[in-house]
């Protein structure tokens, strides 16, 4: 088998100063088995078009500057072997900036939104420091392990610009900022944990707007798994009494109530419980359609009146909830 492959690259081209619309330009090249995506970016610039623009710096997967999308996949160009992507996408690669709508020139984007959100969570230890300390502020291994690798984030923006919730709701903090919020909130040397948790609990902004698609976990080149930290922040809001009763928190907590009663989730009741009777009006039209189609059924009695099937051995489930539940709304 040959160590090289003939590749067609379609690169997103746009210069905000001269172009009205972006366009794609095609480049053909023979790619070697050890070449990285960054090598291909360099070859476009050095061998085809000197005006082609992209960011690069450390070339060691540390600075995060060269994050782009290849065939829609978040990619840290200096870390990603080109052949691996060719195996996945045949011999055609599409290079695009991490966010097309934030493109300034070719692969270069304006990351202001990313940095604004990063700054909003106070991504540093907030503490009154004694200017003349007598000893170091030590952390135990156990305390350090609670970071769960969240401190390995290189701020490349791969998760941020892959997050569909952020795309739909620009106010959402997004996975990178929430990962940073987690990292400093669990830091035992920090005093701003409650303030950060309150921010992450805010509807429309914080963790409750995560759509749980796991795109961030897939996109992260450092395998940090931001959604794992988002789940931890959810839990911490309840543990530390920061969670306020609203549709999102009642929805999460309502699962316990429902499972305790039936083993299963009572799908109709959870909507009523989460929204409240007044909030239910929004769903009446859909509920009527579902009833008409048989999706909300009358087989065992009135909908919303305790008519869902029950798990066998329900008493076991109830006992496990009683002895394992650690949080309260």
């Amino acid at each position: 088998m040959s160590d090289t492959r003939k590749v067609t690259i379609k690169a997103f081209r746009f210069n905000a100063e001269t172009d009205y619309l972006p366009y794609y330009k095609q480049y053909e090249m023979e790619v070697g088995k050890d070449e990285l995506i960054l090598d291909l970016l360099n070859r476009i610039k050095w061998e085809h078009d000197g005006s082609f623009s992209y960011r690069r710096s450390c070339r060691h997967g540390i600075c995060g500057a060269c994050a782009i999308k290849v065939n829609g996949r978040a990619t840290l160009a200096c870390k990603q072997n080109a052949m691996e992507l060719l195996d996945l996408f045949d011999n055609e690669l599409v290079f695009e900036p991490s966010s097309k709508k934030r493109a300034v020139k070719d692969m270069i984007i304006d990351k202001k939104d990313f940095w604004d959100k990063h700054a909003a969570v106070q991504p540093y230890v907030v503490a009154d420091i004694d200017p003349h300390p007598e000893h170091e502020t030590k952390q135990s291994i156990e305390e350090f392990n609670k970071f769960l690798d969240s401190d390995l984030c290189i701020q490349c923006g791969a998760c941020h610009y892959s997050c569909p919730a952020l795309e739909a709701n620009p106010d959402y903090l997004g996975p990178a900022a929430l990962n940073a919020a987690y990292r400093f909130t669990v830091d035992t040397r920090d005093n701003a944990g409650k303030e950060r948790l309150e921010l992450t609990a805010e509807p429309g902004v914080g963790v409750w707007d995560c759509v749980k698609c796991f795109e961030c976990a897939e996109a992260c080149p450092k395998e940090i798994n931001p959604i794992e930290k988002i789940t931890k922040l959810h839990n911490m809001q309840f543990e530390q009494g920061v969670a306020k009763s609203n549709v999102a928190t009642r929805h999460a907590e309502g699962f316990v109530r429902s499972i305790k009663k039936h083993g299963f989730l009572d799908e109709a009741d959870i909507v009523v419980y989460s929204e409240g009777y007044l909030g239910m009006y929004k769903h009446l039209k859909t509920a009527m359609k579902m009833m008409k189609a048989g999706k909300i059924h009358w087989n065992d009695g009135l909908p919303w009146v305790d008519n869902v099937p029950k798990s066998k051995n329900l008493d076991e489930i109830q006992k496990l909830i009683e002895i394992s539940q650690t949080n309260k709304l």
Binding site: W208, D209, F238
Partner: protein, 294 residues
């Protein structure tokens, strides 16, 4: 080929708002000679919400479900992407963290159970493809779906995070998934290729971030329609619920009339295997699929 046997974790929706998912799954199993034992003892998996309230409790309840599959000595199969993910996340956490496993088993012991880690967890889609086999399914097709352009909608929780699923979903790549496309081909339908087939439907924020939810569902549906889809098919009942029951609302947000029947994966298979629309509950859809059997 020896008879395949599975322990079925139905999840909540197949017993309530999507009864057609359960009936069509059982119909497919019967047609293919797959033996199914329903795990009647199982509880809700937490649906990606319980763990936000109490992650440890979610692990305990999911471990209990797996215990019952282990007692039968069978692979636990799921018919919902989110049930698949939550069960697999608990299995992964317990199999890789002995301290957590011990804490969970301490609770399970109180009801006479023990999580051992002996049962695999697999979505029915991948049982059909990886274990029953596409060629074998092809041999059983009685009503080819050759008159249909079918948009595969994969849903998030079967394909992401790929690291968690790679042994149970045949190494499906989340950026370029092919299982549903292959299945549609085997049933002689025409798979529709569109950008949003591996994106999120927005179901999980339907209540608290409705606008986000509608946009995500709308992007996928409009993309499928613009690529000439007659129907959409999904292995996830939550994606089905979002896209079937909220089509009018999604259409309003997108500024488009959207009429796209959204079938459960087993319904599509069952149709090709010769089941009647009534047997597989097509009447339970809000957006009726009247042209399917034309």
């Amino acid at each position: 080929m020896s008879k395949l046997k599975y322990a079925l974790f139905t999840g909540c929706t197949a017993k309530q708002s999507t009864p057609e998912l359960l009936s069509s799954t059982l119909a497919v199993a019967e047609k293919l000679g797959i033996e199914i034992t329903i795990l009647e003892e199982a509880s809700c998996c937490g649906a990606s919400h319980l763990q936000d309230f109490d992650e440890f409790l979610a692990h305990v309840l999911n471990a209990r479900n797996i215990c019952y599959a282990e007692k039968l000595g069978l692979t636990m199969i799921t018919i919902c992407n989110t049930c698949q993910l939550n069960s697999a996340m608990t299995k992964h956490a317990l199999d890789t963290d002995p301290a957590l496993k011990a804490r969970v088993n301490e609770k399970l012991a109180e009801v006479g159970l023990e999580y051992k880690g002996t049962s695999e967890i697999k979505h029915f889609l991948y049982c059909l493809i990886d274990e029953y086999g596409l060629e074998n399914i092809k041999d059983k097709v009685e009503v080819p779906l050759s008159h249909l352009n079918i948009a595969p909608f994969y849903g998030c929780h079967n394909i992401r995070p790929s690291e968690l699923h790679h042994t149970s979903n045949g190494g499906e790549n989340p950026y370029n998934p092919t299982s549903l496309d292959q299945l549609i081909n085997a049933l002689e339908g025409h798979p529709v290729d569109y950008d949003h087939k591996n994106k999120c439907c927005g179901f999980h924020v339907e209540l608290q971030a409705n606008h986000t939810s509608e946009i995500l569902a709308g992007n996928a549906m409009v993309d499928a329609i613009d690529n000439n889809a007659d129907i959409m098919v999904t292995p996830c009942p939550l994606c089905h619920l979002k896209m079937d029951t909220y089509q009018d609302d999604v259409g309003k947000v997108m500024g488009r009339d959207i009429e796209l029947p959204v079938l459960h994966m087993p319904q599509m298979v069952a149709l090709a295997l010769g089941c009647t629309p009534k047997e597989i509950g097509l009447n339970f859809h809000v957006q009726k699929a009247t042209h399917l059997t034309a």
